[in-house]
Structure formats: C-alpha cells, structure tokens
C-alpha cells in the first residue's frame, strides 16, 4: 500500500503534464468543433454537428483525405521495405565500424529540421536549374520535369523526399532489433543449408515481429501528422490541391480562413482516422513470437 502511494506521488507530475498538454487540448479541440469558433470573439455560437456536415460536401476536404491516405499508404509501405532491407544489409557488414558508419550516414537526414530539408529539396526539384533535372538530363537524356508544378508529380516528389528524410530512424530501430536476435538461430539455419533470403524470411522477420509492429505503428502515426514538407513543397496546396493533406488543410482553415471550429472538426476526423488505422494495424500484426 505504502509503495503504491509512493508510486502515484512520484508519477503525479508527469500525469499532470500529460493531462494539461495532451489530454485537455484534445478534449478542447473536440469541443471547439461544435462551435462557430473565433478565439478573438467574446461569444462563439454552438452549432452542433454543422461543421461535420460541411465536411461531406467539401471537395477540398475529400481530396486532402484521399491525398493523406495515399501518402501514408505508399510512404509507410516503402519505408518499412527499404529500411528492413538496408538494416539487413548493414547488419551483414563484417566490421562493427562499417556498420556504425552506415547507420550514422542514414540517420543524418533525421537530425536536420524537416522544414530546412524541405527548402533545400525545393531547390533540387527546380525545373530549370534543379540538380535532379540536371542529373536526369545528363545521365539519361530526360527532358526537364516540372516536379512541383505538375499535379501528378507533386505527391511522388514529396514521397521521395519523405523517404530520404525519415528512413534513418527506422534503420536504427530495425538494426537494434536484428542485433538482439541470438546468432544460434542463424548457425542452425546455415547447418540446414538455408541461404541469405531464407534466413531473412524464416528467422529475421519472424523474430523481429514485435519491432516491426512497433515501427509500423509509429511510422503510420507520424506520417499522418506530417506537415512541414507539404507546406514548403506543395505551394498553396500544390497544383489542383495535389499536395493538400489534412494537416495542411487544418492549418489553412484555422489560421488563414480563421474558421477554427471547422478546422477542429477536420482535426477530429484526422484523429479518428489515425485511431482506426492504428487499431487495424495492431490487430493484424499481433505477434506471439518470442525466443
């Protein structure tokens, strides 16, 4: 009993912090979505579900929802695939210093602020003098591409940038997971004649199950909330709103249109979307394996 009271007492500050800075804003945002809300007004009118009703007929909201789902679906899938492969390749390197070197190299983009990296990549994607178009022209003779000014190219361009900026973190997590797998399993597999690919699919992947489940969940949640690169690389939402995602639409609605009630309603939808996707993902990836 005494121990329990002590534990509660010690955990109290962090609970207060979580309540004030995480739980209350979520509840507040949810509440605001039922009002025609301008924070500078003395009285804001309760309008019930009117903001949510508006969402159904809002073409830009529907487009940004589709863009968000496409972005998350493609980027997370590619991210997990690439980082698993790279982590495996790095773990196969014979010398520890080599392995450390490559982990650092891949992690470095994660350290740079996303907004600064986005601005730099904006220059790389420039139609006339951008490095990417120059390389494509000199190496493959491809005519300059208007990466950020063509509706069909904006999302792929942002996906490529996001992969570059984000794979380092997952590589480190997967590498740590792989380092934790006892070498006995690989030795036994080698004795049985298993090659590199079979070892990866039958030993590494299953025993990395919990790590994969955690990484996928975290990556999905973080990608739903990405904003910086869309604000920088998709000018005003991009051509025909091709780069308009829910986070950018929330920001625009709240701070440019100043309709904070409607912005909160969009945020509630985003919250529900993330929760649904994460729950489904956790159910599908229930891991019973241990070793």
């Amino acid at each position: 009993m005494k121990n329990n009271r002590f534990v509660y007492f010690v955990l109290l500050p962090i609970f207060i912090l979580l309540a004030v800075f995480f739980v209350l804003p979520i509840v507040g945002g949810f509440a605001i979505s039922f009002f025609d809300y301008n924070p500078l007004r003395a009285i804001n009118h309760f309008i019930g579900f009117e903001n949510f009703g508006k969402l159904i007929s809002d073409k830009i909201f529907l487009k940004s929802t589709v863009n968000t789902l496409v972005f998350v679906g493609i980027t997370v899938t590619l991210n997990i695939f690439i980082t698993l492969v790279l982590a495996q390749l790095i773990s196969m390197l014979p010398w520890a210093k080599f392995r450390a070197f490559f982990r650092v190299v891949f992690f470095m983009p994660c350290v740079a602020p996303l907004i600064a990296s986005s601005v730099v990549w904006g220059g790389l994607y420039a139609t006339k003098y951008g490095l990417i178009n120059n390389m494509l022209k000199n190496l493959f003779g491809i005519a300059p591409v208007n990466w950020l000014g063509t509706a069909s190219h904006v999302m792929p361009a942002i996906i490529i940038f996001t992969l570059w900026a984000d794979i380092g973190y997952n590589i480190i997590l997967f590498s740590a997971g792989m380092d934790g797998i006892p070498p006995d399993f690989y030795e036994a597999a080698e004795i049985d004649g298993a090659g590199m690919i079979k070892k990866f699919f039958y030993i590494t992947l299953p025993l990395l199950g919990r790590t994969v489940s955690f990484v996928v969940a975290m990556t999905i949640i973080s990608h739903f909330q990405m904003f910086a690169q869309f604000q920088v690389l998709a000018k005003l939402g991009g051509p025909e709103n091709s780069g308009n995602v829910l986070t950018y639409y929330i920001y625009k609605t709240a701070f440019q249109t100043k309709d904070m009630g409607y912005a909160s309603a969009i945020a509630v939808v985003l919250f529900i979307l993330i929760m649904i996707v994460t729950v489904i993902q956790q159910r599908l990836n229930r891991v019973e394996w241990g070793y």
């Binding site: 924070p39 500078l40 904006g122 420039a126 139609t127 300059p144 991009g238 025909e240």
Partner: protein
Amino acid sequence: MKKFTSCALAVILSAAMLTGCGAPAANTGSSPASADKSGTGVTTITLWSHIDVNWNPAQDKMIADFEAANPDIKVVRESFPYDEFESKTQTSLLSKEGGADVYQLWGGWAIDYSKTGAFAPVPDAYMAKVKEDSYEPVLGSFGYNGKYYGVPLEYNIEYGGLLVNTPKFKELGIQYPTTWDEMINIAKKNSSSNGAVYNLRGLDFVGWDTLPYTWLSMILSSGGSYMDGDKFNFNNPTGVATMQKLVDYVTVDKMTNLDGLTNASETEPYQKLFTSAEELMVPRGPWVVPEGINVDGLKYGQDFEYVSMPFYGPKKLFAAETGWGLAVNASSKKQEAAWKFVEFWTDPNRVLQYDIACGMVPASKTAANNPELIKAMPYMAPLVKVLDGGRFIGYFNTDKLKENVKATFIDIVNNKTPVAEALGKLDSTMNAAK
C-alpha cells in the same frame, strides 16, 4: 535514499511545472497590461511588426523621432518572420495580458479582427482628419459598424506598375509598351519555352496577387463589375471575356505557365526578373523596387525599371485592398501613449518619409502629391497619376478570393473547363463563403 531522491525530484518537477503555468511575470517592456513600474515617469509601449530589411530601419527611425519629441514615452519594436506574424498577432490578442500595444496590421486581417473588439476604435477627431486626406481603398477594411479600427500607412496597389527587364528590352531593341495591345504583342512575340522550361516569359501575370488584380482591373476598366450588391457576380459577359483572354495568354500565346501559382521550387516572378534572365515583364506593386535595389543589389534604370502598366479597357480603374496600417490593442492600458505614437507616425509629412524608405505608395493624398515623393522615387510617377482610379475591392476576406480565383484559373487551364462554367462555380463558392 532512492525513495528520498525520487520524492525530491517529483517535488522539484511539480514546482517547476506549476511555476511555468502560473501568472506571467511582470514585464514593463512589452506587456500592454502592465503599467510603468520604473518610477521614472516614462511609459513604455510595444510595437509589433514583421521582419523586413527595408521597413524595420524606417520604423526604428520613426521610433527615434517620436521618442525625441516625446521623452516621456519609449517605444520598443519587436519583429517576427512574415510567415509567423499573423498567427502570432492572433495568438497574442487572445491573451489580454500579453502582446503589443501597437500592431502593424494588414487591412485584410482587420476584417476579421474588427468584429471581435480586439482592437481599439480610432478616436473620432483623429479619424475625421485621416478620412479627409485618404484615398478610398485605403480605409475600406479598417471600418466596421461606423467605426474604424486601424489607420492606413500605405495605398496597397498591385496594379498600375510593370517591372521590366531593361537589359533584355535593349537587347531586343524594343521600347516599353504604352498600350495594352503593345504590351501583349511584345510578350507574345518574345516569349520562348522548351517543354516545361521557359527561356523567357513575356508577361508573367500568374501569381497569388497579380492574377486576381490584373483580372479585376480588366473587368473594371472595361466598364464591367464583379459584384451585384453584396453578392459576387463574375459570371457575366465582361468577366467571362476577360478571363478567357488571360487563359489564352497562357495556353495559346504561352507567355508564361502556372508556376507562379503552383510551383514551390520556383521563386516569385518578380524575384526571377531580379535574379535571372527568365522574365521580360512582371506586373507588381512598387514595393518590389527597393527590394531589387537593396536586397539584390541592382541598379534602377540599368538592371530594371518600373513603368506604367497599361489598362485593358478605356477606364483607368483597378481594384485595391486595404494595405498595411497601424492598430492599437483594445486591452492595452497605455492607449493614450499608443494613439499619440500612431498619430505622430501618420502625420502626412512624416509618413511620406516612411513610405519613401519602404517603397510604399502613401495612403495620404497630401503625401502622395508631395513633389518630394517623385523626387525620391521617380518610379512612382506612373502610379501617382492613377491613384484616384482605385476602387476598394470589397469587404471580404481577400485571401479566400485569391485562393478561389487561383483554383478557378488552374481548373480552366489544366482541365479545359469552359470559362462560364468555372466562373459560375466561383460565384457559388464565394457567395457561400460570405
């Protein structure tokens, strides 16, 4: 020992958190809610503005002159990056304890803030003087319910002037255009592109501000209109004809493309004119001229010039929204000092010097017609002649208008939507948003 250390840490963390969440510390330098506590009889007020390499030194000079004339009032300027300035202003006005006493305020924002009581109404006697000496568009957005909540510093004019690439004109051996047809012919003849890459954009009017203002001026100068009472009505014969012209300039004549609206990796057309040989003519406000000189180190008259932009139709009319002005925080406990500062700043002789330093067109008729303006900024000459042709764009959020005009134009150009159909949708969207 472990338990004691854990308890001590928990107490320290709680104390630190509660202190941070508590009442703000008294800050006589920047809080409008705190009275002067220095005991020296000096009142300190705060001015918030956005960071600008030309405007900030001009503001500091104004502050220094004001403090010299009013030794009992001190002004502290705090400036923020432009992209954050509006949200910082909005957030600060929420907290009646924080924020500034005087805000540099964009007219378009005033439409939202005036209704909320966040800003103090301008004293009637002072406002009467301002109204008598101001052009029509400069006051529009600051007014609400018979009162005004801001005082204009400038006449925001995004139509009337044309940035031209002087070396390119010399190379091509052509004169600057004096009529609309001349301008279009020069642009058509000299534009050149290769797929997605433009070698030279003849007339780059595709931009967040330039597209809507060019179009609205085309409508007004043709004798048309875009409002029917307080409802939008773009889908009329003049609106359709003028929009079709602009679309043809992009799709048929290939004077430019949509990059100015859609491509984040491209700089703005006027910046491209300053830094590359890709632009021949760019319609833009006069504020870009000091940027070319002071930021890009260009020589006016040699590297670029600013000439009259011809009117599309017979009437020299254009739409203008209310530009930058000054407003006083309604929560400020130092409003008397704040209004004194604002009135000092907006005196026609003083504001003229400020506008010259910032490359702004004065809101005050007295200042705009002062020969000193043209002497200091010869490029203002074509604009000063047309200022009376400015019409207040309308009491609505112009960002919504610009957003929807942009979407409409892209839709017509990319998807070949018929202009009348697109303008019908534009009318519905804008009227629903009102």
